[in-house]
């Protein structure tokens, strides 16, 4: 299981990376916005995408849309971990095909719960 963590703040990437390691996911790669994340995704081998929304360059919502529009990536599970908390934004993300939405600040338990739920669903649906 290889996970791509996308956030413009390296500290947040580090926090997510540490939490994922605690959950037993040791294989992670990082990118600092959508523009740097897309080539990594297109190169293949990523099983799960955790992304922030508000980033310079390409924001997370655009990255999500690019992923869903790409034939090879369309079914990639995507979790948004973001401080964006407007209802219309959450609805927008849901319509764009997000698999989970975690608002910052978040707890380790919340992240764990959402990730497990996503995998349950992905495995159940597959």
């Amino acid at each position: 299981m290889k996970i791509l963590i996308v956030d413009d703040f390296s500290t947040m990437r580090r926090i997510i990376k540490n939490l994922l390691r605690d959950l037993g996911f040791n294989n992670t790669v990082e990118a600092d916005d959508g523009n740097t994340a897309l080539p990594i995704l297109k190169a293949g081998g990523i099983d799960f995408l955790v992304t922030d929304w508000n980033m310079p360059g390409m924001p997370g919502i655009d990255l999500l849309r690019a992923v869903r529009a790409d034939e090879k990536l369309a079914s990639l599970p995507v979790l948004l971990v973001t401080a964006e908390a407007k209802r219309e934004q959450i609805v927008e993300a849901a319509q764009a095909g997000v698999n989970g939405y975690v608002v910052k600040p978040f707890t380790a338990e919340t992240l764990k719960e959402k990730i497990e739920k996503i995998f349950e669903r992905v495995e159940g649906g597959a």
Binding site: I15, N54, M55, I61, A83, A85, K86, Y101, V103
Partner: protein, 254 residues
């Protein structure tokens, strides 16, 4: 005195000038001097009026200049200064977060090893207390326990060091708080100066943004992301917890 003269002033001066010439031709010396005085007084009055206008205009210019120079100081110095300060806040918080995580990454494996070894020795100790341990194995255990106590004491000292480092890393909150407060004060001053400028200008500087423009701007902001909702600043339809996010998503069939 304003030049050229207006018609009224010219007529007035002409009347006085004619009077002077007439008195002079009539050899009316007294009348001539009186007419000359009247002419001089007329000119003086004009000068005073003019001086008054000049003084007023100078005063207004100076007041305006004071405002302008403060605004340009804000634009040239204070705002770049504030940007620097805010960048520094990012740097400080980043350093504090990394320092904290450095400490945690040092401590976690120490705690794990300590726990594992303690558990292993506890099991052996229990066997010894239950008289289930041969003498040779007990000698081995005592040697191991000696080593374990020594190591544990060293590890705990290191844990203490890392913990206090994590504690100290939290000082960023105080420091960045002070910097941010200073920036807030500056922003407040900019606001006041802008309000004053608009008042002095006495008219709208730009056409009012329409509701449609505002709507478009909000949509674009939403797409790009607006960052954490700040209490008291960000109003509107914002969720306040993960539970609300979950409720909203489940209402959408998630």
């Amino acid at each position: 005195m304003t030049l050229p003269l207006d018609d009224k002033a010219r007529a007035e001066f002409l009347t006085h000038a004619r009077e002077i010439v007439a008195r002079l031709e009539a050899a009316d010396d007294e009348g001539f001097m009186a007419a000359l005085d009247t002419l001089a007084r007329t000119r003086e009055t004009d000068l005073f009026n003019e001086l008054g206008k000049l003084t007023r205009s100078l005063h207004e210019t100076l007041t305006g200049f004071q405002l302008d120079s403060r605004i340009s100081a804000l634009a040239e110095k204070d705002i770049p200064d504030a940007k620097e300060r805010l960048n520094y806040v990012i740097t400080m918080t980043e350093q504090a977060a990394n320092r904290t995580m450095d400490g945690i990454e040092e401590m976690l494996p120490l705690a794990e090893t300590l726990g594992e070894r303690a558990e292993k020795h506890a099991t052996a100790w229990k066997r010894f207390r239950g008289r289930e341990m041969p003498v040779d194995e007990f000698r081995e255990l005592s040697r191991e326990l000696d080593g374990f106590f020594e190591q544990a004491s060293m590890d705990i000292q290191q844990l203490r060091g890392s913990l206090s480092d994590v504690l100290m890393a939290q000082d960023y909150q105080d420091l960045t708080g002070q910097i941010i407060r200073r920036v807030i004060t500056m922003v407040q001053e900019v606001e006041e100066q802008l309000v004053e400028l608009i008042r002095v200008a006495g008219k709208r500087l730009a056409p009012e943004t329409t509701e449609e423009d505002a709507q478009l701007k909000e949509e674009d902001d939403n797409r790009r992301g607006v960052g954490p909702a700040v209490p008291g600043v960000d109003k509107g339809d914002v969720v306040s917890s993960q539970d609300e996010v979950d409720d909203l998503l489940s209402s959408l069939g998630f």
